[in-house]
């Protein structure tokens, strides 16, 4: 068996194991985010949003749906990989993979696939729930798919790196609490940055999540606060940079080998 085909078998094994795990504990992995987002839709979309009026020709409910989907995707991608990989470190079951003759990228790709699968599954569920509250049709489906997938991959890679460095469960909760959640809420999920005065508009442009939310919003509604082409390129750049960093850290065995 060639190294490539052996690596592909190993990749499928890790990805399959991750997806089986997500489905086995679906009440923890798939349902809670859908309930949370449904509450957002009821409170912000229906009760408060009804009084806000339209933004760039869309109801407030329609406007926030893409951001809500992207927020769910980002959070679930990050949480899935960081908790699963750190759990494997904590239980030492990660050693099964570290001893095996597979390439480092295989471990990374397998975990990222699991995280992206959960993130997209949650994203689809949130989108389906949104259809109970408002009408939507995808203006640019391919851009929507590419941007949501890139967003999921970026945060999966970031979550993986976080889990590598983490020494206790608290360490994987710090980044979502103090970095991802504030950036997401300030990343144009609930508003257009055009509604902000300077310098806040310019400051907001330093937030990477703004680009993810807006490229996905462009794919769904056809409107965006940022230029979609460059934003997609920056996202691809993030994927490459974080991917290279994660493989490098795996090769060095950071947090894994002594």
């Amino acid at each position: 068996m060639s190294n490539l085909s052996a690596n592909l078998v190993a990749y499928r094994t890790i990805a399959r194991r991750e997806i089986v795990r997500i489905l086995r504990i679906w009440t923890q992995t798939l349902i809670p985010p859908v309930i949370t987002i449904t509450l957002y839709f009821v409170i912000f979309g229906k009760l408060i949003g009804g009084r806000i009026g339209t933004i760039e020709g869309f109801t407030y409910m329609q406007f926030i749906v893409p951001g809500m989907v992207m927020m769910s995707v980002i959070n679930n991608s990050y949480m899935n990989i960081s908790s699963s990989f750190f759990g494997a470190k904590f239980q030492r079951s990660v050693e099964e993979m570290l001893v095996a003759p597979m390439s480092n990228w295989v471990i990374l790709a397998g975990y990222v696939t699991g995280a992206v699968a959960r993130a997209l599954a949650v994203g689809v569920l949130v989108l389906v729930v949104a259809l109970f509250f408002t009408n939507l049709h995808l203006v640019h489906p391919l851009i929507a798919l590419v941007s949501v997938t890139l967003g999921a991959i970026i945060f999966a890679l970031a979550g993986f790196i976080n889990a590598m460095y983490a020494k206790k469960f608290d360490d994987i909760a710090l980044v979502p609490t103090f970095i991802i959640t504030p950036l997401t809420y300030l990343g144009g999920v609930f508003y257009s940055i055009k509604m902000m005065s300077e310098p806040w508009q310019t400051i907001s442009r330093a937030n990477p999540i703004l680009y993810m939310v807006n490229t996905f919003r462009f794919g769904v509604l056809g409107i965006s606060d940022v230029s979609v082409g460059p934003a997609l390129l920056v996202m691809v750049g993030f994927v490459i940079a974080l991917g290279v960093l994660a493989v490098h850290l795996l090769k060095r065995g950071v947090g894994l080998r002594s």
Binding site: A6, N7, V9, T13, R17, V99, P101, S103, G253
Partner: protein
């Protein structure tokens, strides 16, 4: 080290292997040893001697700071993946996902080695049955007893059908019946051609199973020989004798140190050159009937303690 063909090379060659951890602890101080193909090799040493560090380096979980190890001629440093294909590892600590099922743990392990799922499923059934775990194959692993978990780690290590199986204290905390069934299994795979390296604190286990032995202490090899030669170094053995009648004062015997433990128990320290018949004859002549006899300690245990303590005393003298 020059490269050797995997079919003819020794199962393991460790060459001047060193490991100094980040905190400055020198766990291995340039050790060298060779394990031949088909051997059943004991690697013994007290806690903290460097055994687990050595096994960690062989399995690539720990990186060495000097030297190299070759598994069937393949360098762990230079061709890690090729070397890892040839080994199976049963670690000291339980390290599988306790929420998975034994069957899935085994099949996934095979998958990590690039073995297709169909073949993996057949092997998983085979080894889980051989290790008497098949009836638990679809239970969560956390429901298994301690002994079952240890056997599951052996089954898992067999999934890539390794040419070198490394067992790091596989029977720790396991009752004697399960320990014997594990010995039986491991002896069987060794007889079928798999080289086995065993670390254990149960020295009778090493004495019974292993043909060659290395003792490691403070990061250095203090003994590397055959089990026979090592046991031959034991010049004196101590036997515990149970007597039919109470003995108030033990008789003085020529060439045998006799000590009273309690009224019906004696201890006899006897040189290996001295035959046991003369002991019994001398005791009979003094009207003492022996009803049963046993070794005071395991023979290997006596040697092990002597070697390790000898090394420590030597180190203390040097320091002084």
């Amino acid at each position: 080290m020059s490269p050797q063909h995997p079919e003819t090379a020794p199962a393991l060659v460790v060459d001047n292997l060193r490991k100094t951890y980040g905190n400055g602890v020198e766990a291995l101080k340039g050790i060298s040893l060779t394990v031949q193909q088909g051997d059943f090799f004991a690697l013994l040493g007290p806690n903290g001697a460097g055994k687990s560090t050595l096994i960690g380096i062989l399995s690539s979980l720990v990186s060495s700071t000097g030297g190299d190890a070759r598994i069937f001629g393949i360098s762990v440093n230079q061709q890690r993946n090729e070397a890892m294909k040839l080994i199976g590892l049963v670690p000291q600590e339980i390290n599988f996902n306790q929420f998975e099922k034994p069957f899935d743990i085994c099949v996934n392990e095979a998958g990590f080695y690039g073995i297709p799922r169909k073949i993996a499923a057949v092997r998983a059934e085979k080894y889980l049955k051989e290790l008497r775990l098949w009836d638990k194959a679809y239970h969560q692993a956390r429901e298994l007893s301690g002994g079952m978990k240890r056997r599951l780690m052996i089954a898992r290590a067999m999934m890539n059908e390794p040419r070198l199986l490394i067992l790091d204290e596989p029977t720790a905390g396991v009752d004697i019946e399960i320990r014997r069934s594990m010995w039986h299994f491991v002896s069987g795979i060794n007889a079928a051609g798999t080289t086995v390296i065993l670390t254990t604190h149960y020295l009778e286990e090493a004495e019974q199973l292993c043909r060659n032995i290395a003792i490691i202490d403070h990061g250095t090899i203090v003994e590397d020989t055959t089990m026979k030669r090592l046991l031959a170094k034991l010049d004196v053995e101590t036997f515990v004798l149970d007597t039919a009648e109470p003995v108030s004062t033990p008789p003085t015997l020529d060439g045998i140190a006799l000590r009273r433990v309690d009224e019906r128990t004696l201890e006899a320290e006897i040189a290996r050159t001295h035959d046991l018949n003369s002991l019994f004859a001398a005791l009979s002549a003094h009207g003492i009937t022996v009803t049963s006899m046993r070794n005071k300690t395991n023979r290997l245990e006596e040697l092990f303690v002597r070697l390790v303590e000898g090394g420590r005393n030597g180190a203390k003298e040097q320091a002084a």
